[in-house]
């Protein structure tokens, strides 16, 4: 059990309560201590990680595949990541020794024939010992299976457990756990790997290969995006969520409309009858996996945090700087919910107007 340091700095709130100040006990130099570099000086073998990027970044699932490759790699193995789609971030903390980017192969474009042919070309030139891919729905699961069908390598899909010797995956309708020796192509299920690495890597860029031409069998007729209000909360990409600290729900609805976001709520709001039960997020409500989650006036009780564990970017607006949601959020803004929402609505309208 982790013990709380009794000497932590405190702050007195307006109501006279003593509250511990979060994050004040980390010295800046400690937080930025550089991690040792893992990248091998004299590489002998290579493993390949393949993943689509989303909006210029690798998502958590893709980073888990990369982390698995980096953790399992020995001192003479290079971890090369092949990013399909644009990449605007540095992957050294994620464990990539080499990065190759093929920006034309974005996941929103349907071109499995081009992707597979380019992939086979990369594999031919790099001769990786093993291939890791996230088994997701944005194209990697599909591409990985196409690759498996075109190769004679040993494979495993939906891998929930992996180590240096073996992998395991659920079979027979998730009723049994089956294991096999570590295969050459590994399609990882989500959350099978911890992305915390005690090392970083060089992340040197390598030149991309030429793309192959399309076979003409497939044609992409374009994306259809439905407005956030029409889709189920579980599928929403942007959620604005109301908590007990929201006095005026109509302001929140306006904000959600402006951001084209779906509306969620904490249990208190739903119990009060302000929003229907199907909007409740949390342990007894829905588990959401939005890319952006804006929590307004939500304290962040564990039951609520359980429902948002898969959200990538959490932004909190709260009056209380010691609320548990602040610990979870990537950005927290301390202040009155109503005032900040109104300001946000105004600023968004201004930004949209300037853009148009």
């Amino acid at each position: 059990m982790s013990r709380v340091n009794p000497m932590r700095p405190q702050q007195t709130t307006s109501s006279g309560l003593k509250r511990m100040v979060l994050q004040a006990n980390v010295k800046p130099e400690e937080a930025h201590a550089p991690k040792p570099i893992r990248s091998p000086a004299k590489p002998k073998t290579r493993v390949l990680v393949i993943a689509h990027s989303d909006r210029g970044a690798l998502d958590d699932h893709a980073r888990q595949a990369l982390a698995a490759a980096a953790i399992l790699a020995d001192a003479e193995t290079t971890v090369t990541v092949l990013v399909l789609g644009e990449l605007h971030e540095n992957l050294s903390s994620a464990g990539a020794d080499e990065v190759m980017v093929l920006p034309e192969l974005d996941f929103q474009q349907f071109q499995p024939d081009v992707e597979l042919a380019s992939l086979l070309a990369v594999i031919k030139s790099m001769q990786p010992m093993r291939i890791f891919m996230p088994d997701n729905l944005i194209g990697d699961g599909d591409l990985g299976r196409r690759l498996i069908a075109h190769s004679q390598l040993t494979t495993a899909t939906q891998v929930v457990e992996i180590d240096t010797k073996h992998v395991a995956s659920y079979q027979a309708g998730c009723s049994v756990l089956a294991v096999c020796n570590l295969p050459e192509i590994v399609l990882l299920a989500a959350n099978a790997v911890d992305t915390d690495l005690p090392f970083s890597a060089k992340a040197t860029h390598v030149d991309a290969v030429e793309l192959n031409h399309a076979s003409g069998e497939y044609q992409d007729l374009g994306l259809q995006t439905s407005s956030a209000a029409e889709i189920a909360l579980e599928e929403a990409d942007f959620i604005v969520s109301a908590g007990n600290g929201v006095q005026n729900l109509s302001t929140l609805e306006t904000l959600a409309l402006q951001l084209d976001a779906a509306i969620g709520a904490s249990r208190v709001v739903v119990d009060d009858g302000k929003l229907p039960r199907d909007k409740q997020i949390g342990a007894t409500g829905k588990t959401v996996s939005a890319t952006s989650y804006l929590a307004i006036g939500i304290s962040g009780a564990v039951q609520h945090l359980q429902g948002i564990k898969d959200c990538r970017h959490v932004i909190a607006i709260n009056r209380d700087s010691s609320a548990p949601i602040i610990k979870r959020a990537d950005l927290s803004v301390i202040g009155d919910a109503e005032d900040i929402m109104q300001a946000l609505i105004g600023e968004i309208a201004k930004a949209k107007g300037a853009n148009a």
Partner: protein, 249 residues
């Protein structure tokens, strides 16, 4: 070319609680999608003709089911039955066997056909199919694929299943003569039931580091903005969204 022969691959499912044999819902959806395109389908099952699960498929609209044995290479024996077929429909993931979702891909590679996964709706236009494809986060994509093709139907496909007892009585099942149901070349062994272990990087720490880790909590939270007026705070949020490309204005 028109859609004349559509083949649907069905597997046997089981009730997750009682373990009783029943149809696999994902495959029944593929069957119904096929029935909406043409009234008469070739329905193919690799396994045992006595399986009570097959009765369900008869009731759900298959008038006839061909059963191929699974000893030997399953992809091989299915492919042998699937020559000259215009469209092969399958469900997304079976409820027994390896559950790897690999079968349609192996079959498409074997027969050298294009494959589209995650189909929600299928319409025919000339010698192409237009498919509404599922993507996460509420996105859908329209794609066109040349026939003949393999199409994997998504579990969210909006078709209604209709169970008719009369069809179950009228339908029939044919077992084909022979030509372990391993799908790919990976040897799996069943392990004792347990929770999977998450892979973590081994951490080498000195005693002092471990002590500090135990008495201080990790700096987990993100940036906290305390200062400024509302407009400045709203700007901070907008900048955060812009920086991560979550909005495009």
């Amino acid at each position: 070319m028109s859609l004349q022969r559509i083949a649907v691959l069905v597997s046997d499912g089981k009730n997750p609680v009682s373990g009783e044999a029943r149809h696999c819902r994902n495959d029944s959806l593929a069957l119904q999608v096929g029935l909406n395109l043409v009234p008469d389908l070739t329905v193919l099952h690799a396994g045992n003709a006595d399986n009570p699960a097959l009765q369900d498929y008869l009731a759900l609209g298959a008038s006839h089911i061909d059963v191929v044995p699974t000893n030997g290479d399953m992809v091989e024996s299915l492919a042998a039955q699937l020559q000259n077929v215009d469209l092969i429909l399958t469900g997304t993931r079976a409820e027994n066997g390896e559950d790897s979702g690999l079968l349609p891909y192996l079959l498409a590679a074997k027969l050298n056909l294009p494959l589209v996964a995650g189909a929600l709706e299928i319409t025919q236009s000339g010698n192409h199919l237009e498919i509404l494809q599922f993507l996460p986060k509420g996105q859908r994509r329209r794609v066109r694929v040349k026939l003949p093709a393999v199409v994997v139907v998504h579990p969210l496909a909006a078709v209604e299943l209709c169970h008719v007892h009369a069809r179950q009585i009228l339908g029939n099942i044919t077992a084909h003569p022979a030509t372990n149901s391993a799908v790919h070349h990976t040897p799996w062994r069943i392990d004792t039931p347990r929770k999977p272990i998450k892979l973590k990087a081994p951490l080498v720490q000195t005693g002092h580091e471990r002590l500090m880790a135990a008495i201080t909590s990790k700096n987990k939270g993100g940036t906290v903005v305390n200062d400024g007026n509302c407009v400045e705070k709203a700007q901070v949020i907008l900048n955060f969204l812009r920086e991560h490309r979550l909005i495009n204005y």
